[in-house]
Structures are given as structure tokens and as C-alpha cells.
């Protein structure tokens, strides 16, 4: 039997004796290279071997200790190579998406703090979040607002407390940092817009850069996204609702983060499930083309648009059957829910951060 091992290729007889051996040089880097390429070799052993004994038999090493030390060194070197090979572009997209989420969280907290603090000095300022941070960073005290600025009237008649120089410095500093965070967020957004086209041209075409990036991030990589069935793509980001559905009798979610796609958002509620399915299947297709296939193919998008058009034509009116069971659902609003309520069941599928996966009206996955 011919067998490839990490230290060379052996021919082993039925009773386990080494008949022939072609050994490699005892150079860790060379051995690591071989270990890596051998992992797909057709002559890999078909069952485990007493490699240590074989290595001693054919005089690759003289002592067991030498075997251990060399094997360890080679394995560590191999693994380090493997790790550096796994750096792919979609990893950077994932980091960017997650960094954006972190920034949103941080910016929210900091801007709330700024609102509270600056509110002591200038409660009439009706700005929030970024405009507020920009305002404070620029002017500091309300007395610095120049005539002609649209806040001038409010600033000069404010009931707020006086702002000492020290406090002004501090607040301005704080606001400037916050502005920096907002700038970083824009950079990240830009990065995703610029790079998604190269990382996943087809997914970007179908889903758009931000949504495509988010799907890749939630899936854990472009390859994983491509490996998912499209029914999974349809509900990525709605895991809470999905598991509630599997565990109890809650309705299944119709859409996860793909809800943010204009085709779904812009559809009336009774079409959304159908559109979501069509969209998910095309995203799956696009991801697979991006991973295994070739360049950008505009026909996927055209097919999707045709399909959605057909859905719109086939279902122009809300289904009648449901309206007897359901209190009138406001299209596009979280109004409708089944009359028959089940114990303890909350409205399924509301994800944190407003990525809605609402189970409107009867809530069957359409």
C-alpha cells in the first residue's frame, strides 16, 4: 500500500513493514509546504497509521523525542500559513459592517450625553445627533452664534445657564470627538460602497451594497452566504422569530434583513412574502455566481424585476379570506394581527435595531 505521510511517501506491506520509502528533507519549512499540499493527495492513508513507528523504522528520525519536536514545529508552521491564506476580501467587508454597528451604538450614547449636558446651557436648541454635535463643535457657547445664523434668535434669548470657559472647552472637545466618530462612519459606509462591487458584484447588483454587505456579515462570509439555501437567506436576521416559530406555534417570519430592500419595503403587505421569496432566491443565485462563477451578469436582475412584476399583477388586491379573520391591517404599518391570539405570543420577529421582520396579518409565510 502506498501512503503519503507528512515526512514522505511510503510503501507498506500487508503486515505493516516499510517496503520502500521516499523521505523528505528534515527542513521544517519544506515539510510544512508538503503537509499543506498533501492534505488533498489521492494517496493519503485510508486508515490511521502508526506514523511514529514508521518514521523510526525508515530512519527519518532516530528518537521519539525528535519526532515530536519536528512534527510540532512543522504543524505550527503549516497552521500559520493556513491562517494567512484565509484572509479574503469579504472578511474586511464583515469587519466594516460590524464596525459600523459598533459606531452607531457608541455615537448614540455619546450624542445622548451631549444633548443632556449641552441642554443645560441651551435648552432651546432643537438639533439632535450629528447636527447637534457639529453645532457644539463649531460654536461652543451659544453666545458665539453669529447674527444671521438661524439659531441666533433662540441663542440670544435662551433661558439656559451660563457656560464657563472651562466647561465650554470640555463640551467642544467632546462634540469634536463625536463629529470624528460620525466622519468615521461615513468613511466605513463609503468603503463598503466602493468595495462591495469588487467583492460580490452580483449580490451588490441585486441587493445593493449596504444590504449585501449586511447579508455577508450575518452569514459569516460570502462563501457561507452562497452555501445557504435561499429560504435561509430569506430569513437571515430574523432568527428570534424563526426559532419562536419552530419552538411554538408562532407564525414563520417572511423576511429578515432583506426587508430593507426597496422591492419589499415598497410592496403592499400581501405581496411582501412572495417578493421576499423571489428576492432571496435571486440573492442566493447571485452569491453563488460571485463565489463559483464569473463576472457580473445583469440578467439576474432583469429576471427578478420580471418576476416581481408578475407577482404585482397576479395579486393586485389584498386577499379576501384574511380580511374576515383579521382586524383591518394598515398596509405598511404594524397594525394588523390575527384575531385569534395565542397565549403569550408576542408579535413575532421584531429584530433589534428596527430591522423589521414583522409578521403582519395572519403571518403565514406567503
Amino acid at each position: 500500500m502506498k501512503a503519503v505521510t507528512w515526512f514522505g511517501t511510503l510503501v507498506i506491506s500487508e503486515d505493516g513493514e516499510v517496503e520502500e520509502c521516499c523521505l523528505l528533507k528534515k527542513d521544517p519549512e519544506l515539510l510544512a509546504e508538503h503537509m499543506l499540499t498533501a492534505a488533498g493527495d489521492e494517496y493519503l492513508p485510508v486508515h490511521g497509521l502508526k506514523l511514529r513507528e514508521l518514521a523510526l523504522d525508515c530512519d527519518f528520525v532516530d528518537l521519539e523525542e525528535e519526532y515530536d519536536v519536528l512534527l510540532r514545529e512543522v504543524c505550527i508552521s503549516t497552521v500559520k500559513r493556513q491562517i494567512s491564506m484565509t484572509d479574503t476580501d469579504d472578511k474586511h467587508i464583515i469587519q466594516a459592517v460590524e464596525a459600523m454597528d459598533d459606531i452607531d451604538k457608541a455615537a448614540n450614547e455619546l450624542s445622548e450625553r451631549l444633548t443632556e449636558w449641552y441642554g443645560i446651557y441651551f435648552p432651546e436648541l432643537e438639533l439632535t445627533a450629528e447636527p447637534m454635535a457639529r453645532f457644539v463643535a463649531r460654536f461652543g457657547s451659544r453666545e458665539n452664534v453669529p447674527e444671521g445664523h438661524n439659531m441666533f434668535a433662540k441663542a440670544s434669548s435662551s433661558m439656559g445657564a451660563e457656560l464657563s470657559l472651562v466647561d465650554e472647552d470640555l463640551l467642544r472637545n467632546f462634540a469634536t470627538s463625536l463629529c470624528g466618530i460620525y466622519d468615521t462612519r461615513k468613511n466605513l459606509e463609503q468603503y463598503i460602497m466602493n468595495n462591495m462591487g469588487a467583492v460580490a458584484p452580483n449580490v451588490t447588483d441585486i441587493a445593493g451594497a449596504p444590504l449585501g454587505a449586511r447579508l455577508i456579515s450575518l452569514a459569516g462570509g460570502l462563501e457561507k452566504l452562497a452555501a445557504f439555501p435561499s429560504s435561509t437567506v430569506q430569513v437571515i436576521g430574523a432568527s428570534n422569530a424563526l426559532f419562536k416559530h419552530l419552538r411554538s406555534r408562532a407564525p414563520s417570519p417572511k423576511h429578515g434583513v432583506i426587508f430593507n430592500h426597496p422591492l419589499i419595503k415598497g410592496s403592499p403587505w400581501w405581496q411582501r412574502g412572495k417578493v421576499a421569496r423571489a428576492l432571496a432566491s435571486k440573492i442566493s443565485l447571485a452569491a453563488r455566481m460571485d463565489v463559483y462563477g464569473s463576472a457580473h451578469d445583469p440578467s439576474i436582475r432583469e429576471n427578478l424585476e420580471r418576476k416581481v412584476e408578475a407577482i404585482r399583477k397576479a395579486h393586485p388586491e389584498p386577499p379576501k379570506k384574511l380580511s374576515t379573520k383579521v382586524t383591518q391591517p394598515g398596509p405598511g404599518r404594524a397594525g394588523g394581527r390575527p384575531v385569534k391570539k395565542r397565549g403569550g405570543q408576542k408579535k413575532g420577529g421584531m429584530n433589534k435595531g428596527g430591522k423589521s421582520i414583522g409578521n403582519r396579518s395572519g403571518g403565514r409565510s406567503a
Binding site: 503537509m35 486508515h47 497509521l49 506514523l51 510540532r72 505550527i76 497552521v79 493556513q82
Partner: protein, 231 residues
């Protein structure tokens, strides 16, 4: 503080009010994941948190740990090396092959390997034992903690390849990764049954216990591989 040995390399440090599971630190002065280091009679021990380690929980649940100081162990699902570090402590004169599939966690594991001479890291899929058959020799013990839906199959296939005749398999079965909704007890029963006969290799289950309160919905299994006489 005094010390009591439970099995090869596994100790309990006895303080005034409690007993702490620990292993002798192979790399003194260094803590791997923030665990406590304790000095007893000039020897340094590392606390072994059973809540973070299935193997640690199995020790406290009364399993007869088959790992001896000079064993060769194949560890499937090494993750970032929390448990592997304790196995490495136990194996004063042995070796552990640590298989992990995720490059991200391997990044942490490799740091541990740099410090300890008896861990051999392998970045590979435990589903495909053949892809590391050119590296791993036959071993005395296989420990598996992979949280995959086909855990029994993975264990059986690796045993077929790498387990010594009469070698031991230690397995942690996580019911949640097989079916999130079904009853864990039923899953455990099915998985053990599958393991015993479904994959062309037979096991004799020596011990099986649930790992609560340390790990919920996990079953620990200790089995010995049966090898039929060929004639």
C-alpha cells in the same frame, strides 16, 4: 491548602471551605484564560473551571478519565484551547493533536501551542479524518467536543482511523446542535445508539451522564472501541 490527586495529572486543591479542580501548570507563572494559579508546596496548579470545559465537568461528574500522563490524545474541536491547555497539563510525557476548523479560533490556539511543547495544532475539518491522516498517528484517547449535528458520525469515523484497539473515546454531545426543539433525553438516546452500531465500528459505552449543572443539555459519554477478532 492541601492537594488530592483524582487521576493522572488531575487534582483537587482543598482549601478551608471548598475543593477546587486543578491541573499542574506545565508552563508556570502563566494563566491561559484568566484562571487562578495556586501554589501548593512549591508546585503551581491551575484552576480548571468545569463551567467552561466539558472535560472538566466530566471529571466532577465522576467519569473515569482515561488520559494518562504519557497518553497520545486526539482532541477534536479544540476551539481556543481552554480545555486543551488542561489536557496539555495532564500529559507531562504525552502529546495532544488539537484539531480545529475555524481559522479565527485557531489564531488563539496557536499562541498556546507556541508556549507548550506537547500540543500539535491541526487546522482541518473533523468531518474529514483522511485530510489529516498523514499527520496524526494512532492514539490512545479521542476527546471530542464539536457541537455539530453529526457528532456521533464524526466520533466514529475518527475512531475508525485513529483510535488504538481498546482505545477510549470521550464525547460531549450537545443536543441543541442536533435539534433545537426536540427533547434532549431522546436525542441523547438516539445519538448513543447511533454511535454504538451505525457507522461500522462498535463501541462499548462505559459511562454516560448529563453534564448539568455545568453545561445544560449536554451529555458526556465514555466509550471503549470494540475490535472484533479478524479470524
Amino acid at each position: 491548602m492541601s492537594i488530592e490527586q483524582l487521576s493522572d495529572g488531575i487534582f483537587e486543591v482543598i482549601t478551608d471551605d471548598r475543593k477546587i479542580l486543578a491541573t499542574r501548570n506545565l508552563y508556570p507563572g502563566h494563566s491561559v484564560y484568566g484562571e487562578r494559579l495556586m501554589d501548593v508546596d512549591g508546585v503551581e496548579y491551575r484552576q480548571w473551571d468545569p463551567h467552561r470545559s466539558k472535560l472538566g465537568a466530566m471529571v466532577l461528574k465522576g467519569f473515569d478519565i482515561p488520559i494518562e500522563y504519557d497518553s497520545h490524545v486526539l482532541y477534536l474541536g479544540a476551539a481556543s484551547g481552554t480545555t486543551v491547555s488542561h489536557v496539555s497539563d495532564i500529559l507531562a510525557d504525552g502529546l495532544v493533536y488539537a484539531v480545529e476548523f475555524s481559522p479565527r479560533t485557531m489564531r488563539d490556539l496557536i499562541k498556546l501551542c507556541d508556549q507548550r511543547p506537547n500540543i500539535i495544532p491541526i487546522l482541518a475539518d473533523a468531518n474529514k479524518p483522511r485530510s489529516y491522516a498523514h499527520i496524526v498517528e494512532t492514539v490512545d484517547v479521542i476527546f471530542q467536543d464539536v457541537a455539530q449535528p453529526n457528532q456521533a458520525e464524526i466520533a466514529a469515523n475518527n475512531s475508525k482511523y485513529f483510535l488504538e484497539n481498546d482505545g477510549h473515546l470521550m464525547l460531549s454531545i450537545k443536543s441543541r446542535s442536533i435539534d433545537t426543539v426536540a427533547n434532549p433525553k431522546k436525542i441523547f438516546k438516539d445519538e448513543v445508539k447511533k454511535l454504538e452500531s451505525d457507522f461500522g465500528v462498535e463501541f462499548e459505552v462505559l459511562q454516560r451522564k448529563e453534564l448539568d449543572p455545568f453545561h445544560e443539555d449536554h451529555l458526556g459519554v465514555l466509550a471503549r472501541m470494540f475490535v472484533e477478532d479478524e479470524d
